[in-house]
Each structure stands twice: as structure tokens, then as C-alpha cells.
Symmetry: C2
Subunit: 192 residues, 2 copies
């Protein structure tokens, strides 16, 4: 079977019931775009330790948006222990720096080094190109619209998560009423 024609050749069964085909499925689409962009971004950033994830930490640091390691880990959706290793690697190549927070010495404030700042500036072009190439199927205005919509959703989700966190804190302050979920182990990876 030729790979170019495989798209239609498998329909030997009766025409399937109504319903969204895979090409019209939101999940399939965002998964595909996500993977493609991740791959393009990874190529664009070269040797930044930790790949795209390390790049986002650097971004946050450059922009002064990286608060504590914990809040940064939550923002990026990684475990706080993973953040430790990631920062070790980024610090080792002199891209970021951990600074103890004078206000609460348990916290580490993550800041970009001068070299990190410079490296980040260098990467802006290639990263932008990676995005444009990934979205090349869309006209320029649509790309902007897509980006804006995703940012709106992401902003909302980030806030919601913070609210959930805040609520949990309040909940616990108000009294421990029969935890619905005990410490809970054995989760599953959200691999797509």
C-alpha cells in the first residue's frame, strides 16, 4: 500500500455511521498540531537543556515571571521534583540562576543570567519561524486569531487552576471533612 494513497484505501467496510471523522476531531487536531510544534520548537532551540520545557523556563525567567520553583512548575505542568533537575541543568550552562527569596527563604527566585538573556534574544527569530512554519496552512491573519484564542483559553485555565488551588487551601482551613480522595496514588500519564 502506497503511503500517499493510504488515506482512503482502508474503507472496505460499509460506510460508517454519522459522527465526526478523525480529521474533524478537536482532540486529534490539537494533538497533531501540538506534536508538530513541539518538534519544530525543539529543533529551533538547539541545545537548551530540557528542550521546549527548558526554553519556557528561560522565557519566564527573562520576563521576570518565574516566581518560586513550585509556582513555575505548576504553570508549566510539571512535577516540582522535575523542576529541580531542569533548573540544575539550566544553571549548569549559565542560563538561569536561583536566588533565595529574602522575604521567605524557603523560596528560590529564578532569574535569567546575562548569558541567558542574550541566548533568549537570539532564539526569538528561530522560535517565531518554527511557529510560522507549523501554521503555514493558515493565512497570516488566521494565525494571529488562532494564537489569540489559544492564549485566552490558556489564561483562563491558568487562573482556574489557581482558583482550585486557593479553594483547596480554604477548604482545608475550614475543616477536614471526610477527604473524598485519600492521598491517592497510582495515577496515569496523560500521554496523548
Amino acid at each position: 500500500m502506497s503511503p500517499v494513497t493510504s488515506q482512503r484505501s482502508a474503507r472496505t467496510d460499509a460506510p460508517t455511521a454519522a459522527g465526526p471523522r478523525l480529521e474533524e476531531d478537536f482532540g486529534f487536531a490539537i494533538g497533531t498540531v501540538f506534536r508538530a510544534y513541539a518538534k519544530a520548537l525543539e529543533a529551533a532551540i538547539g541545545d537548551i537543556p530540557g528542550g521546549p520545557r527548558g526554553y519556557f523556563v528561560l522565557s519566564a525567567a527573562v520576563q521576570g515571571q518565574a516566581g518560586s520553583q513550585r509556582s513555575l512548575a505548576e504553570l508549566l505542568g510539571v512535577d516540582r521534583t522535575v523542576m529541580t533537575y531542569l533548573l540544575d541543568d539550566l544553571e549548569r550552562v549559565d542560563l538561569v540562576e536561583r536566588r533565595p527569596d529574602p522575604a521567605d527563604r524557603r523560596n528560590r527566585h529564578i532569574v535569567a543570567t546575562e548569558h541567558g538573556q542574550a541566548r533568549w534574544e537570539e532564539l526569538r527569530g528561530p522560535v517565531e519561524q518554527a511557529e510560522q512554519r507549523t501554521l503555514e496552512a493558515l493565512p497570516a491573519e488566521s494565525r494571529e486569531a488562532l494564537r489569540t484564542m489559544l492564549c485566552v483559553v490558556a489564561g483562563h485555565l491558568t487562573q482556574s487552576e489557581q482558583m482550585v488551588h486557593a479553594c483547596k487551601v480554604v477548604e482545608e482551613l475550614e475543616g477536614p471533612q471526610k477527604r473524598a480522595s485519600p492521598p491517592r496514588r497510582a495515577r496515569r500519564r496523560s500521554a496523548f
Copy 2:
């Protein structure tokens, strides 16, 4: 530091140079939305083996779009060996079935069982809800627009990948001229 206020509290440094802030970054946004949707979808589909990935295989099977295991694996961005395990699990709970392709008995044609078809129908509501909840920050028309744009990009990317594959085949047919990349090992995961 309160989690609700942490968004701005870290800016103790000089105001950073111009440039996209993290909230305006395409990669950060799509990563966040992707993770949130993956989580919501995983909750929605319950006990389907393989999580979202298993669900997409089932979708493809139901819609008669699952050709060979290999083409399906490529479409979903997973290794063909992973696809083997995934199908083992889905077959074990009677959701899909492997059928030898009479035309080329090396290929296995993946089809949904009756139970798989029924289960998939049941899931359409919950899956739709998961999508709507994830995108709740957008008005309904925008959600449609977002989905359409992502599908356009995904469709294009899928085709491109098939082209790349086809070109590689042609290239090899035309003669092995000093492979730029030798068999190549030690890749890196595209974790975001």
C-alpha cells in the same frame, strides 16, 4: 505568597525588555490547552485502555479510518511497537479487532467490534462536554472557529508528513546518495 496573587508578585527586577510575555506565547498557550484537554478527555473516557490514545484508535476504527497498524501509528504520532501493546489492550476488552488484510497478509486491518462501536457512541457526549469545558473561556462561535483552524493545520501537517514519507521512498528508489543521517540513534523525547 498567595497562589492567587503570585502572577504579578515576582516582578522585583527591572521591567524586562520588550517581547512576548509568557501569556502571549503560542507554545505556552497550546501546551497549556493541550494538557488541560488531555486531562479532561482522560476523565471523560473512563476505563478505555491507553487513555486518550486508546480512544483515538477506537475512533479511527469506528470510522473505518484505521488502515494498517503502521499508518495508524504514524497518524497518532506513536511508535509502531507502542501500537502493538495498545491494540493488545483494546482487543483484550473487546473494543477493536485485528483482521489480516487479504490483499497483503502482512497488514492488519483494525476494525471496531460491536461493543466498541456502542462504547464509542456512549462516549460522544462526555467527550464533547470535555471539549466545551476546556474551551469555556471562548464564546461558542469562537470555539467552532478554533476547532476549524486546528483541523486545517492538522490536516495539512498530516499530508505533509505523508509527502515526506513518499519523498523518502522515492529518494531511496533513485539511489542511495550518501545518507545525510546515518541510522541515527539516541533521540530525545518531545516532552513539553
